[in-house]
């Protein structure tokens, strides 16, 4: 059983299970949206005293904080106990391109650099200009963009599109405009630092 689960999953299995997570939350009387927790964390930190946007009852969001805590645990379990026997099989074209800009291929499964590149995520990278841009500026853009758009991948690309919401389609188009600009134009410049 453990070996079967540890194998790399076909994308359709992953997609069905993500939809299942959304349905489980709906059945539990809630909605699927991870980035809302970032707002709740601001509220807990006291941002509601300065800005009305954060003046909400965070206790009503406790369920979502627990969901996020669960996702940390789920990541831990999958990584340490159900690691794939082989590295992430990214397309050869992507690997070749990334190597040409100084990013090594995904590391062996179960090692820290199996899912993220050491060149950007090693702890000492935080103190380089390149690492700072990726980690700090990148995180900032995700946070401000998600709230401005009223949701992230889970809220718009999965829940919103499944509920045939046109605003979510516009948001997803935005995700791709930004993502394409970054991957094709801006990231290559940042990686030169």
């Amino acid at each position: 059983m453990q070996e079967i689960i540890a194998q790399p999953w076909h994308w359709s299995v992953s997609g069905i299970l993500i939809a299942a997570v959304m349905f489980l939350l709906l059945y539990a009387g809630k909605e699927f949206g991870v980035s809302s927790n970032l707002r709740t964390l601001c509220t807990i930190a006291g941002a509601g005293r300065r800005h009305q946007f954060f003046d909400i009852d965070w206790r009503a969001q406790r369920w979502n904080l627990l969901f996020v805590a669960g996702s940390v645990i789920g990541g831990f379990l999958a990584f340490y106990f159900f690691s794939s026997p082989q590295p992430v099989r990214v397309s050869g074209e992507t690997v070749d391109y990334l190597q040409s800009v100084g990013i090594a291929a995904p590391g062996p499964a179960g090692t820290p650099w199996s899912y993220v590149p050491a060149e950007l995520f090693a702890p000492d990278e935080i103190f380089t200009l390149r690492g700072f841009l990726v980690l700090v500026a990148g995180g900032f853009l995700v946070g401000i963009g998600a709230r401005w758009a009223g949701g992230c991948t889970s809220g718009h690309a999965i829940s919103g599109l499944s509920n045939l919401q046109l605003p979510s389609l516009i948001a997803v188009i935005g995700f791709f405009i930004g993502g394409l600009l970054m991957s094709w134009l801006i990231l290559p410049l940042i990686l030169q630092f």
Partner: protein, 137 residues
């Protein structure tokens, strides 16, 4: 005790995010470079299954466990907030290779630098709350 169900669903989510490899920075680059179908397959399958499920739930009037209506609020139709906010989000997604779900999932795998991304995203969220009235919606 009731809250344990949300923790459990979250564990499933983190597990699926990891095994789907959607948490991989490499997979996100590959997606935005159109060099593999993997991520499109995941999101596409989730949306197709989700759309059918929600349509069935609406057709047959299915409710949450306690009989309340499913939380499927329609979103107000405007364009600027979704287009501009979405684009900013996409820039960050392609840079960090992580949207908010995977950020937390990676934390469980000892990728401590992702903690910097999470803190920055909280700060970004705060910036939105502070600047909200000046941003087009």
């Amino acid at each position: 005790m009731r809250y344990l169900i949300y923790l459990t669903i979250g564990i499933l989510f983190g597990f699926v995010m990891t095994k789907s490899e959607a948490i991989s920075w490499f997979r996100i680059q590959e997606m935005f470079r159109f060099e593999n179908f993997h991520m499109y397959g995941i999101i596409g399958t989730a949306v197709v299954v989700g759309t059918i499920g929600i349509a069935v739930a609406k057709r047959f009037g299915l409710t949450a466990y306690d009989g309340s209506a499913l939380r499927l609020k329609p979103k107000d139709l405007t364009i600027p907030r979704y287009l501009y906010g979405g684009t900013i989000f996409g820039l960050g997604w392609a840079l960090t290779g992580a949207c908010p779900g995977p950020m937390f999932t990676l934390l469980g795998q000892g990728i401590w630098a992702i903690g910097v991304v999470i803190l920055s995203s909280i700060f970004g969220t705060y910036a939105y709350g502070a600047l909200r009235h000046r941003l087009p919606h």
